[in-house]
Amino acid sequence: MKTKLLSGLWLLLGVSTLLAQPKMAKKPVKLISSPTKIFMNAKWSPDGKKIAFTSEEYNGLWVCNSDGKQIEKLTSDLSAGFAYKWSSDSKNILARPVVEDNSVRFHQVVQYSIDTKSKNVLIDRTLKLKSLPIWADGGTVVAVLTENGIKKVSSGKPALKGQIIEDNIETFGRNLIKGSRSVKITNPEFKGRYIYNLEQSPDGSKIVFQVNGLGLYVADADGSNIKRLGFGEQASWMPDGKYVVVTIVKDNGYAVTSGELYAVDVNSGESYPILSDSGYVALNPDVSPDGKSILFDNELDGAIYLLKLK
């Protein structure tokens, strides 16, 4: 009887912990820094063992262990560090770098190998891309929106356990999302504006995105049930799909003066402070796969920090 009561108590505590919004457990720790460069836009690998990050203007990509050690440069490609995406097996990174030739700025779609530091150019020197690329079909395919529609190319990666799941790919503004059919954007306020920084929830059912001039929104993956979530930016999903971690940014038109981290309940729209400290201008938050920590870059010192959650 006593054992059952204790088990029930632990269960209740566990449930209440699960329901509670994420909070900072202890002060952020500086993980990656340089006296002459800034580092930013760090993202966890899906297995939580690696961290990728970039530098100013999103040029180049570096990879290190989850403790910030053993930093290795993956590429110097221009713009490779913007909106790059880890493969689900944590072995590759997909990016849209830039190549300049005779003052013409071409896009590429490139897959970088973490192990060999080699790169596989999937789409070379094009002026026709309209979106950032995404992984699809279990990582065997890369999809991107072009002026001629959605284009799929093989990544060369083998299917896991011999199974290939063919994703349905739809456009949402100039973004690609997976899994839904007949996506439609009906909000008239969005006319003439752009949808960007789109992130699909871990189970694929929801998307968060920003609209220029208007703020942060959440919607079902088919574009329905659009709800405004305030002015948070650069959203990163918690694994439970109930919260996104965002940064609330203030600036003076020339420099970013404040960046505070909040957890936003995507159902209620309520936001809860995680980090509000004048010692940090926290940007580009990225929640770890286990939901226990956040990486962010600090505009004040150009370093990447690790913040533990409770």
Binding site: P35, T36, K37, I38, S55, E56, E57, Y58, N59, L78, S79, F82, A83, R96, V98, E100, S103, V104, R105, H107, L127, L129, L132, R174, G192, R193, Y194, Y196, N197, Q210, N212, G213, L214, G215, F231, E233, Q234, T247, V249, K250, D251, G253, Y254, A255, V256, G259, L283, E299, G302
Partner: protein, 837 residues
């Protein structure tokens, strides 16, 4: 001639129709070569951020420049796409949101449009970069520097202002030849992954510039320059354009003219007016002028006639050649033709004034007449007569302002002065004076006046400080004497006011000053040496008379010194070397409801607070409120980066200023910036005195009121002085002049437990005393002890009352310390017992 002109017009019309046909034909852009190119245009800031002069923000201005530029790209080129970071005045967009968007869209170029927040009218362009071994290095991808090299020169030419240059952004903010941080300074350059640049085209706080900034075509001019610069950067030919533009000003005073219609062929343009535009930004119809005109669509290389017409000015017609150098600078493709117009309105009297009013003119006080235009002086003097006939003399202040001397007029007499409109003329257009103000030359102007009866009374002292009831709390108190009328300056000498101890043993040296404010004299005595604390002083006033020779009897009064001792005094500004660092009240948008032409700060060297050695200057603030304006406000900012504001203070200090009041009942308050850069203010002080007065704001005890961003709390330390703040709550006069001197902060001296406390107010008199010493306190006296200077107690007695008459007639002549214990503390007073008194 007529036929030829008509034929020309027909040909031009055909050309225009043909051009329009080409223009509107889809798929036929004038400029090709951008079909694979995308640009991200970023109007800086958002909503109403960075408010500028006339309540028009930088954010609002640059959005309209950006929209014009977008339109030019989309209608004149084959560009693939033009993106905008924000679209409306209500959009909210952060810096990270802007660069994330541009990066997501994969734009080829990022152009951020700003304007300068300094008074300088100049162009600056800033690309992402830093210095290595003295060489500017641009971020990758390149392109911002190359575009900036073209843009900064072209903008400067088009806007006819200087350029500060094209800079690597980190070098602009940190002038090092070798930066440690080798990445861009500005967020938009650092976080965008394409070529990028930020431009600042002139200022949004400069009053002249901002009157141009509100004009739509002025913003189109800025966009046109950026557009053509971009085509040059991309190596593309620029289309030929035909534009005439310029600024129209009044030939006489140089003020830009509102409502002038400019015509070239079938094109017309009317310069902005209060009704058409300025009412959105100004309270008074005459507050804003830009005189800017802009006519485009002209044929490059043509010779054309341009006419300038206005109801109030003489029409002017000029011949100009429409400039054309398509691949040259934008300025080489605009015919800038600035003109001056001559007023066609005959001169009128715009004002007459005499001290005391026209019903009580004091013979000898001049009558001032102000004309609307510069007058032919001799013709005006010939035109003036007076009835009953008397001789008049004249004194011209300038071509507009005449003083009619009244020395020869009799007392208690009615007069009529006439200015004959068939004789007086102005200089510029030689038109006759419009005396009856009907808009037509001619007609007489008359001034009715009555002279006052002779003044037979002497000046009366109506206000003084310190006094019998107001102790001096400074060891060198400024003694202020205010009279009910003007005192004849010649009767004010060094011996007019003497200050000495009551027994006459010690006479205090010091200069005196005499100023006349609102027909009242104020005389100050500035002690040049420390007075004795707890001593009773006598002020004697003698030898004064008014301007009619009515002599004042000798009078005197006493006051006591009860010094509030300070441990340290730090001067923020003594104004001895000018008013550098102080902004004009009209230069900040915080100021509202003032008459701009009559509101300013100037350096003053005559009315000076002589509290410290070699004090030689003060700040003179002239102000005038707009009649009827609700809650007018005035703020003169002391720059946060000024040398004066290197003097920082904290909550333990007392802020002080000497304010020379004008008795206007307007209000002043202290304002500071705390460690959070929040603006905190003192209570309002009603300026109901004339002359110098020390104001104090005890930061640890007195009221703190949040102003603007302030919250009513003094956070942290290292505060600095924000500036002079004044208001009129409706009970103050509409105009006046006040002076400020010796802005400082002090810290209180530490006091022993039983020493004098400032909040214990006790009067001890007379001093010296012969028999009965009066001791009065605001709080109950509990004990009085008398000590000799050797520290021996002579008398000791307990009380429970506020007033005590202490008999000391039995004590020998000497100086004693009277120790008074009240329920609020203990004070000591030095008292002299003298049988000669």
């Amino acid at each position: 001639m007529q036929n030829r002109y008509t034929t020309q017009s027909i040909i031009k019309l055909a050309v225009i129709i043909f051009a329009c046909f080409i223009w509107i034909t889809p798929g036929r852009a004038q400029v090709t070569g951008l079909s694979n190119y995308t640009i991200f245009i970023d109007p800086g800031h958002c909503q109403q951020e960075n408010m500028g002069a006339f309540n028009y923000s930088e954010a609002e201005k640059v959005l309209r420049v950006a929209l014009e530029l977008k339109d030019m790209f989309e209608t004149q080129t084959d560009i693939k796409e033009v993106y905008m970071s924000r679209l409306t005045d209500s959009d909210y967009q952060t810096l990270t949101g802007r660069t994330d968007l541009a990066n997501s869209l994969g734009a080829d170029f990022y152009y951020s449009i700003h304007s300068d927040a300094t008074q300088d009218r100049k162009v600056i362009t800033l690309y992402g970069g830093w210095m290595t071994d003295g060489v500017a290095i641009e971020k990758s991808p390149h392109g911002g520097a190359a575009f900036g090299n073209i843009l900064n020169v072209d903008l400067a030419g088009a806007m006819r202002i200087p350029t500060a240059g094209n800079f690597a952004d980190r070098y602009f903010y940190d002038r090092s030849d070798d930066h440690d941080r080798k990445y861009p300074y500005l967020s938009i350059n650092r976080r965008s992954n394409m070529a990028s640049i930020l431009s600042e085209a002139s200022s949004h706080v400069n009053l002249y510039q901002q009157q141009l900034n509100v004009n739509a075509q002025w913003k189109r001019l800025e966009a046109l320059s950026a557009f053509r610069s971009f085509l040059e950067y991309k190596g593309l030919d620029r289309p030929a354009i035909g534009i005439a533009a310029g600024v129209i000003t009044d030939a006489h005073n140089g003020v830009p003219i509102n409502g002038v219609t400019v015509s070239i062929d079938t094109f017309t343009y009317t310069t902005d007016t209060y009704e058409s535009l300025f009412h959105l930004y100004a309270y008074n119809p005459d507050d804003m002028h830009n005189g800017f005109y802009w006519i485009e669509g002209l044929t490059p290389g043509d010779t054309v006639e341009v006419s300038f017409t206005s109801d109030s000015y003489m029409t002017r017609v000029d011949t100009i050649i429409i400039a054309s150098n398509p691949n040259g600078l934008t300025a080489e493709n605009i015919t800038f033709h600035d003109v001056e117009l001559i007023s066609s309105i005959p001169s009128v009297v715009t004002g007459t004034e005499v001290e005391g009013g026209f019903n009580a003119v004091l013979p000898g006080v001049p009558i001032t007449v102000t004309f609307s235009r510069e007058m032919n002086m001799q013709s005006v003097e010939n035109a003036i007569t007076i009835s009953p006939v008397d001789s008049l003399s004249f004194n011209w202040i300038d071509g507009y302002t005449l003083e009619i001397e009244t020395d020869s007029l009799d007392f208690s007499t009615d007069y009529t002065i006439t200015i004959d409109g068939s004789i007086a003329k102005n200089t510029e257009s030689d038109q006759f004076f419009d005396g009856d103000n009907d808009g037509i030359e001619g007609g007489n102007y008359q001034i009715q006046l009555t002279t006052m009866p002779p003044d037979l009374t002497a000046p009366v002292l109506v206000d003084k400080w310190p006094s019998e009831t107001n102790e001096a709390t400074e060891i060198r108190p400024i003694i202020r004497l205010v009279f009910d009328e003007e005192v004849d300056s010649s009767s004010v000498t060094a011996s007019s006011v003497t200050v000495s101890t009551v027994n006459g043993d010690v006479e205090v040296n010091g200069p005196i000053s005499h100023d006349v404010i609102n027909d009242q004299s104020v005389i100050h005595f500035f002690p040049a040496e420390d007075l004795l604390n707890n001593e009773l002083y006598n002020v004697r006033i003698t030898g004064l008379q008014d301007i009619f020779g009515n002599a004042m009897d000798t009078t005197s009064f006493t006051f006591t010194v009860n010094e509030m001792a300070f441990a340290d005094t730090t001067y923020i500004d003594t104004f001895d070397s000018g008013i550098t660092g102080w902004g004009q009240p009209t230069a900040t948008f915080s100021t509202k409801g003032v008459v701009r032409a009559e509101t300013n700060c100037v350096y003053e060297q005559n009315i000076v607070c002589k509290t410290i050695d070699e004090n030689s200057g003060s700040l003179r603030l002239n102000y005038a409120w707009v009649d009827g304006y609700s809650n007018p406000y005035l703020r003169s900012i002391l720059s946060s980066s000024s040398e004066q504001n290197t003097n920082r203070f904290n909550v333990d200090n007392i802020l002080q200023v000497y304010l020379f009041g004008d008795g206007s009942d307007n209000q002043y308050r202290f304002v500071l910036k705390d460690a959070n850069n929040q603006t905190e203010a003192s209570k309002w002080y009603i300026i109901n005195w004339i002359g110098w007065k020390l104001l104090s704001w005890n930061l640890s005890n007195d009221t703190i009121i949040g102003y603007s961003s302030g919250n009513g709390v003094l956070d942290g330390s290292d505060f600095y002085f924000d500036g002079i703040h004044m208001q009129n709550d409706g009970s103050g006069k509409l105009k006046g002049t006040v002076f400020f001197d010796d802005i400082r902060f002090v810290s209180m001296a530490s006091t022993a437990v039983n020493d004098t406390k400032n909040d214990v107010s006790v009067s001890v008199f007379p001093n010296p005393v012969n028999n009965i010493l009066n001791i009065k306190s605001k709080s109950v006296i509990q004990q009085i002890a008398v000590y000799d200077l050797a520290g021996q107690i002579i008398m000791l007695k307990d009380y429970d009352q506020k007033s005590v008459k202490l008999s000391v007639g039995h004590l020998p002549e000497a100086i004693y310390i009277v120790n008074i214990t009240t329920i609020n503390g203990v004070v000591n007073r030095k008292v002299k017992i003298s049988r000669q008194y």
